[in-house]
């Protein structure tokens, strides 16, 4: 190994599973998810908090996992894209993204789904303007956003 440096124990729950991990204090949650837990559904597009590809839910709130350090999430409940569907049954947001063609390359999709889920969990009847505001931190280069708004509106109707 290279320079190991000091490490600390991090306890948190990821998708309902308790985890106890030995991590460097400056490791990001993104790295912990992708590299330590091999949950590669969470994507990276910039690792600087600019693109929204790495959004996960921390205690139900969408957060950029590339900007979150272990000290901020001790004891937290983290939901990644792998924890959104109910077993084999897709979450209404996931189903709506498929049905509306709201994904093309799919790389922004995990972040989009989680930001959308967080919005609809608290406000299933979100208007198009509210959807735009909630998702404005998630960039997509394929869809032009139009179909994503349609999908989130549709998912909201299914969840209401």
């Amino acid at each position: 190994m290279g320079d190991i440096g000091s490490r600390e124990i991090l306890r948190l729950s990821v998708n309902g599973q308790n985890q106890e991990l030995l991590v460097k204090p400056y490791t990001t949650l993104l790295e912990i998810l992708r590299e330590d837990l091999r949950l590669t559904g969470t994507k990276h597009g910039c690792e600087a908090g600019e693109c929204g590809a790495c959004v996960v839910l921390i205690d139900g709130t969408p957060q950029l996992s590339c900007l979150v350090l272990p000290g901020q999430i001790e004891g937290s409940d983290v939901t990644t894209i792998e924890g959104v569907s109910d077993g084999g049954k897709l979450h209404p947001v996931q189903q709506a993204f498929m049905d509306h063609g709201a994904l093309q390359c799919g790389y922004c999709t995990p972040g989009m789904v989680l930001s959308s889920k967080a919005l609809l969990d608290s406000n299933p009847r979100a208007s198009a303007e509210e959807i735009k505001e909630a998702l404005a931190g998630n960039l997509c280069r394929c869809t032009g956003y139009v179909s994503i708004i349609e999908a989130v509106e549709d998912a909201g109707r299914a969840m209401a």
Binding site: T42, T80, L90, Q94, M98, H100, R141, S147
Partner: protein, 790 residues
């Protein structure tokens, strides 16, 4: 290839439906493994050391301190990878690692494989490179001057000229002499980048004598060729796998340094080696939209018919050749596919500068001249007192005609596309008010390049379908980069075999498993790979129907195929029956463009395509006369898709093209200062977000092309093209000033308004086109059907 399937009235079961893409289920649950998600046991991690100088000789590289760092397994420099490569055979000017000189900030000079990225990065920092700085060339004008020390490259030339050419079709001087009105305009299109959400990533293994590379590439076949050249290995010992793809837009079309480097490091270390670029590196790798200066002169008759056009372009190519020879020609090739231009002269030049290399971005070389041409048409219309839409209509090409530069036009929905957006936007019914504007523009794009990038007579697309008791597998080298090519291939096969698209297992983009397809560029997959899949599927259908007809003791034409059944048998039973008779069932399809699609002159390879898509757009916006801020209200777009294979996917491609066009028009630009990229981050490099994106109303015009699979044409690139000029035209409509340069930012609008307020021309844009010594014009004889290039 006229077939019953291309009858516009034929009833189709799955073609044209709005169905989820076949690969979307994995993507919504986060299970799709993109290139950086691939993690092999024992992987080493690679980082590249890149030049911090824009132009410099490399005097020495000392890697000893890096090698001594604990956890560093291997360090390589250009000496380890001496063979040059490049996507175009005429411009193989790249080393994976440069050891003699660097040509832009970001040019790689050394690479490290270590136990983790952190260690690899620390080792890169410990490498000592001694440079001797050279003059930095940063603009087209500067590159056209004789270099004060040495040119950026020691080939091509003179000076920093990479490619230069001049062609003439028809009698241009005569056309101008007969014109009752002549207009000249100058435009500038700032360069911009693809900004795919996924950073490029590659992993290589070398086991026995077999090299395998998994990469986020759009063109595994061309990477395969480049690896064979660089490593002097037989192609049969190399396998390139295009991993599920996180966005390309042309940015992952070249063979890249990091791909060569991980292969070399895997050979040296015997372990898997992975390299994932940082976002900053993605900006340096670039290969995006060329900045282009343009000058256009057009003569029209009294009734607005174009009689002659002279188009000049100068492209800022950045530091390497990339697709540059093609890019340069594309800035002059497709002006003729929307308007009937009876006499046409094109002069183009591409220069090297010390900036990240430019290449193909969505629309490759055509958005820039399209922007110029459409605004030029607007200005001609205003000059001669004709409605801009009417001027265009008077010059539209007709279906099944030949352009003056020998391009074969087949199906053409430009008239209908125009009607749809003009009607839907109530273009003629709007009430004029200051600050509100509508802009209209049209465009055309290819359904695949007519020639491969390297000269060969082989098919452009090949496809194999295999059926056994395990189901249907379709193998094709095409790469799904998110545009939905796997879905297109599955849908085409499903239609023929009476199945559903998700019943077809598509294996694509793997040079070890799939027959060659040239790649996902030039909007070629639906038309070319789609036709290959159709041929293979039809042959498979015949085999299955034949077996069932024999059992049912009826004629094959009485066997109905559909809903998972072949005649009275389920598909599985029919497949088993046929397999008992023939063994494992495999069929194949191939596609090569027809010979007669283009001409035979030098440079005729750029522009020909088996078909052209057509788009028309109206943009509605508000432009604030006091701040220059633009608020996009709505875009209407009509696209001649031939026939939609999957209407939902086509709508997605169209909306995505509109978005990217708006974003380029409004804000995207690659800016440099002293050779340094000014905004190599997603925050500083602005792109449209949910907030700025307006409503889009999409109309699909179905002209049912006679040669497209089920009549289909492309959707991936064409719909971007009319959007950019339509935005600028709408700003003129709103404020009465021209901004002849994109992106059309508020400061440019304010400067044009200031100029107008001071009594000068209400315009912002380049004042003149550079003085360029173009070569003697090659006068191309008229098209001769008996003598074609293909």
């Amino acid at each position: 290839m006229t077939t019953v399937a291309n009858d516009p009235n034929v009833e189709l079961r799955v073609i044209g439906k709005s169905l989820p893409k076949v690969d979307s289920a994995g993507k919504v649950i986060g299970l799709t493994a993109y290139a950086d998600d691939i993690e092999l046991p024992g992987t080493l991690y690679c980082k590249l050391l890149r030049s911090h100088l824009p132009h410099a000789k490399v005097l020495s590289i000392d890697t000893s301190a890096a090698t001594a760092i604990k956890g560093v397994i291997a360090v390589i420099t250009g000496d380890d990878l001496p063979i040059k490569y490049g996507i175009m055979p005429t411009s193989e000017d790249e080393h994976a690692l440069e050891c003699e000189k660097v040509r832009f900030v970001g040019d790689p000079v050394a690479a490290v494989a270590a136990v983790d990225e952190e260690t690899a990065l620390a080792a890169c920092r410990a490498i000592v490179v001694e440079y001797e700085p050279l003059e930095t060339i940063e603009s087209i004008e500067h590159a056209l001057l004789p270099p004060s020390d040495e040119p950026i490259h020691d080939y091509a030339g003179p000076g920093n000229i990479h490619r230069i050419g001049a062609l003439e079709f028809g009698e241009v001087d005569e056309g101008f002499a007969n014109s009752s009105f002549i207009r000249e305009d100058v435009f500038f299109y700032e360069g911009n980048t693809h900004l795919p959400m996924e950073q490029h990533s590659a992993t290589a293994t070398f086991v026995g004598d077999q090299l395998t590379l998994w990469s986020s590439t759009q063109n595994p076949h061309y990477v395969h060729r480049a690896l064979a050249k660089v490593f002097e290995m037989p192609m049969g010992h190399i396998r390139v796998v295009a991993a599920p793809h996180g966005g390309g837009f042309g940015g992952k079309c070249d063979p890249f340094s990091h791909e060569m480097v991980v292969c070399k490091l895997a050979m040296i270390t015997g372990r898997p080696v992975k390299c994932t670029l940082t976002r900053e590196e993605v900006f340096y790798v670039h290969r995006g939209r060329h900045p282009v200066m343009m000058w256009v002169r057009t003569g029209v008759s009294q009734d607005g018919k174009i009689l002659a056009m002279h188009f000049r372009t100068a492209l800022d190519g950045g530091a390497y050749g990339s697709y540059g020879p093609a890019s340069m020609l594309y800035t002059g090739a497709l002006q003729t596919t929307t308007y009937n231009i009876p006499a046409y002269r094109f002069e183009g030049v591409r220069v090297f500068t010390n900036k990240a290399p430019c290449g193909p971005k969505r629309g490759h070389g055509t958005p820039q001249p399209r922007f110029a041409l459409e605004l030029h048409m607007d200005k001609i219309a205003h000059s001669i007192g004709l409605d801009p839409v009417e001027l265009r209509r008077r010059n539209y090409v007709k279906p099944y005609t030949r352009t003056i530069n020998h391009l074969r036009i087949t199906s053409c929905g430009i008239e209908e596309a125009t009607d749809r957006v003009i009607e839907a936007s109530r273009y003629y019914e709007r009430k004029k008010r200051l600050g509100h504007g509508l802009g209209f523009a049209v465009s055309s794009y290819m359904c695949g390049a007519g020639l491969p990038i390297y000269w060969n007579k082989l098919p452009h697309s090949e496809c194999v379908i295999q059926v056994d008791r395990g189901g249907v597998s379709l193998y094709c080298g095409a790469t799904d980069i998110g545009q939905g090519s796997d879905t297109v291939l599955a849908t085409v096969a499903a239609e023929e075999l009476g199945l559903w698209p998700t019943d077809i297992r598509v294996v694509s983009g793997d040079t070890g498993l799939t027959p060659v397809d040239l790649g996902s560029y030039s909007s070629r997959v639906t038309f070319m790979a789609g036709n290959a899949a159709l041929q293979a599927a039809r042959e498979m259908r015949e085999i299955l129907v034949g077996a069932v007809a024999e059992k049912m003791e009826c004629s094959p034409k009485d066997v109905v195929v559909g809903d998972g059944k072949i005649g009275e048998l389920s598909f599985e039973d029919a497949a088993t029956l046929a397999q008992l008779r023939h063994g494992v069932l495999t069929t194949r399809g191939t596609y090569a463009p027809p010979r007669e699609i283009g001409g035979r002159y030098k440079a005729a390879g750029v522009g020909p395509s088996p078909a052209y898509s057509y788009s028309a757009a109206v943009v509605d916006l508000d432009a604030d006369p006091y701040s220059g801020e633009i608020q996009l209200n709505k875009v209407w777009i009509a696209h001649d898709i031939g026939r939609a294979i999957n209407a939902l996917s086509v709508k997605g491609q169209v909306e995505g093209g509109v978005y990217m066009g708006l974003s380029e028009a409004m804000m995207e630009g690659q800016l440099y200062r002293h050779g340094l990229h000014k905004q190599p981050s997603m925050l500083d490099y602005k792109s449209l977000t949910f907030f700025e994106m307006p409503e889009v109303e999409t109309f699909l015009v179905e002209t049912v092309d006679l040669e497209g699979p089920f009549g289909a044409k492309e959707a991936g690139q064409g719909p971007l093209l009319p959007v950019i000029p339509a935005v600028v035209s709408a700003v003129y409509d709103a404020l009465g000033v021209w901004v002849d340069e994109v992106p059309i930012t508020p400061d440019k609008i304010m400067r044009a308004l200031d100029a107008k307020a001071k009594g000068r021309e209400g315009r912002y844009g380049p004042k003149s086109f550079p003085q360029i010594s173009y070569p003697t014009i090659v006068k191309v004889p008229p098209f001769d059907a008996s003598s074609t290039a293909f």
